[in-house]
């Protein structure tokens, strides 16, 4: 556990970077410090490993003031990842990863074999071990940065905007990887970002800092989106916070309609019966393995000859689907909004269609979680 008690950082020119910060970072959790530039989030992070010293107050790890330890010794027990990875250009990937173990006096061989394990942990091929940092892509460099931070198995990991210098696709991949690692390792992670979406995705809890280094709110992500403490936090999390908050509610409880599915090979006459019974203007056509092919409109069925195969009619594309067991309400809503039929297709893990849900039913489900923010939320990305 890391605690900030009345911590202030005032520079000689009078600028206040962090103003009377009280914050507890629980062990084994990811706490995100988020704020615009000038909010003191990086300064606060760097006080944990004494890269910056507070002018007032106290930073403690498990109750012990960090100032009780010599900085180099303290820092070897705290992993650190920065924006441009900060890899040593003159050392190979393996030697970069082995940095802290070597500083701790491990033998070359033991440090080297540890580096091998970590390469695998962060999803890099063993042949990367003898390359130099400039031979890697930005995303690979960041992975090496994370591996280097974890090399001596420190209980604490500090991450200062680690993914903001890579493109959005790579960033999303690195975020997923971090979540996977954290599920496995359960480190005490302090993560700094200016990107509220990243904070919501990564954090078990989020601390929002306002310019001038004052803490505005600390809360679980779904609480922060549901109930911003003031106008500043509300503006910072963005006016689509309602939609984003849906990420915390699972799609698995949505009422899926399977009676609107027809299979390739069924005739237009059969399909008309299905549509009449379901009282639905759109039917979902699937192939023989129940994979979605597209939507067919009731009007198109009415105009078709009785014996026509439904798969041969003009089908409307189904857009993208949501996976019922793992996706959130946000994914389902997105699928419905993008679908020309106004309906989202829910699929099983193997991609077979389970049914469809219309925007009206989605609306009802969203309404339900809106009034019930305590019991409906899942711990993480449902």
């Amino acid at each position: 556990m890391i605690t900030f008690e009345g911590v202030t950082k005032r520079y000689p020119d009078g600028t206040v970077a962090v103003d009377d910060l009280d914050l507890t970072v629980p062990s084994g959790h990811t706490t995100v410090l988020v704020g615009s530039s000038g909010s003191g989030k990086t300064t606060a992070l760097r006080m944990i490993n004494r890269m910056v010293e507070p002018t007032a107050g106290r930073v403690a790890i498990d109750g012990d003031d960090v100032r009780g330890q010599d900085p180099p010794v303290l820092r070897r027990s705290i992993g650190y990842v920065i924006q441009q990875a900060g890899l040593f250009p003159h050392r190979t990937v393996a030697d970069n990863i082995a940095t802290v173990p070597r500083l701790l006096g491990w033998s070359r061989r033991r440090a080297r074999s540890r580096a091998g394990e970590l390469l695998e942990l962060v999803g890099l091929e063993p042949e990367h071990a003898d390359r130099y940092p400039h031979q890697l892509s930005g995303g690979q460099q960041q992975r090496v940065g994370v591996a280097r931070a974890l090399a001596a198995d420190p209980p604490i990991l500090l991450m200062d905007e680690p993914f903001s210098a890579v493109d959005p696709v790579v960033r999303a991949g690195l975020q997923d990887e971090l979540l996977r690692l954290q599920d496995e390792l359960r480190k005490t992670v302090v993560f700094v970002t200016h990107d509220i979406d990243e904070a919501v995705k990564i954090g078990d809890s989020i601390a929002v800092l306002r310019p001038g280094g004052r803490l505005a709110q600390v809360d679980r992500p779904e609480r922060l989106l549901a109930d911003p403490a003031d106008d500043f936090v509300e503006a910072f999390v963005g006016y689509d916070r309602g939609v984003r908050r849906l990420s915390f509610f699972p799609a698995r409880d949505l009422p899926l309609r399977s009676d609107v599915i027809v299979t390739a090979g069924d005739t237009a006459a059969d399909a008309r019966d299905v549509a009449r019974r379901a009282k639905e203007p759109w039917l979902l056509v699937v192939d023989s393995r129940r994979r979605p092919l597209g939507w067919v409109a009731a009007e198109a069925l009415a105009a078709a000859a009785d014996e026509r195969d439904v798969a041969d009619l003009d089908l409307v594309g189904y857009g993208h689907v949501f996976t019922v067991s793992t996706d959130s309400l946000r994914a389902a809503l997105d699928a419905a909004v993008l679908s020309p039929a106004g309906r989202a297709v829910g699929v099983a893990d193997d991609g077979t269609a389970l049914g469809a849900v219309a925007q009206t039913e989605l609306g009802a489900a969203i309404w339900a979680v809106g009034g019930d923010e305590h019991t409906g939320a899942v711990s993480r990305h449902g």
Partner: protein, 260 residues
């Protein structure tokens, strides 16, 4: 009608004879004085550059750590460079007599004007995120300097060494005026003093060849020391550009000095 090719040959023939005569003289006098004076030239120039490097690294490190130190240090090494070498050799004579130090001390001081700025530039082009990361990993300041900052600065420092080495090899000859000039002695004592061309040609040729060979050795040393810098992408060009620019200015200054 005159054949142009024939005319060129006719003009070149004495030159050719001259070259042959010089080579013969050099070969016949290899044991004395050419060989020993070449060895002296190598000793004087290499020792000067090495001592210069040993002085330049701490001066450069201090200049980077305490920025206020750099302007006076730079002015100081430039002022030293401005002192005519001949004057400095004679000034030292009462103290060091005709020992090699009379040549080595001034020459080593001259290299500082090239090497100190290169050490400073080399250390300054270590990316800030690398420096920060090293501190955050738990390197003590001294260890960070020795294991991260100086190794990353090596390409720029070697670029400076190349200029300093070539400049020093050309300047050693001036010390022959106090009897310590290596190949300068061949030129002065055996050539000009006796109004005899062959030793002059031999002295110049060997001096240039030594400069080339030394430069080649330094290039090889750089390749061996910095395998990581061999095929760097465009991301690091900034640092290299700086090194190249520094070499160019250093070369221009070395040129002026050589003319003194």
């Amino acid at each position: 009608m005159a054949d142009p090719a024939h005319e060129v040959w006719a003009a070149a023939a004495p030159l050719w004879g001259w070259a042959v005569e010089s080579a013969r003289w050099g070969w016949q006098n290899l044991d004395d004085p050419v060989g020993p004076l070449l060895a002296e030239h190598v000793l004087l120039s290499y020792a000067s550059v090495l001592i210069g490097l040993v002085l330049a690294v701490p001066l450069g490190v201090l200049s980077v750590r305490y920025r206020v130190v750099y302007p006076p240090v730079l002015s100081g090494v430039n002022a030293l460079y401005a002192i005519p070498s001949l004057a400095l050799f004679f000034l030292l004579l009462p103290y060091t007599a005709f020992s090699p130090w009379t040549a080595i001390i001034p020459l080593a001081l001259y290299t500082l004007a090239i090497l100190v700025p290169n050490v400073v530039d080399g250390l300054n082009q270590v990316p800030d995120h690398v420096r920060q990361a090293a501190a955050a990993m738990g390197f003590s300041p001294l260890r960070r300097l020795l294991q991260v900052e100086l190794p990353v600065a090596v390409p720029v420092i070697i670029a400076g060494l190349r200029v300093a080495a070539v400049a020093t090899i050309s300047m050693v000859s001036v010390a022959s005026l106090v009897g310590l000039g290596g190949l300068g002695g061949v030129i002065l004592t055996y050539g000009f003093a006796r109004n005899f061309a062959a030793p002059v040609v031999v002295g110049i040729t060997l001096s240039v060849a030594l400069a080339f060979a030394t430069d080649g050795l330094l290039v090889l040393a750089q390749r061996a020391l910095t395998p990581w810098a061999r095929d760097r992408g465009p991301a690091r060009r900034g640092g290299r550009g700086l090194a190249v620019r520094r070499r160019a200015t250093a070369a221009a200054r070395a040129g002026e000095k050589g003319a003194l």
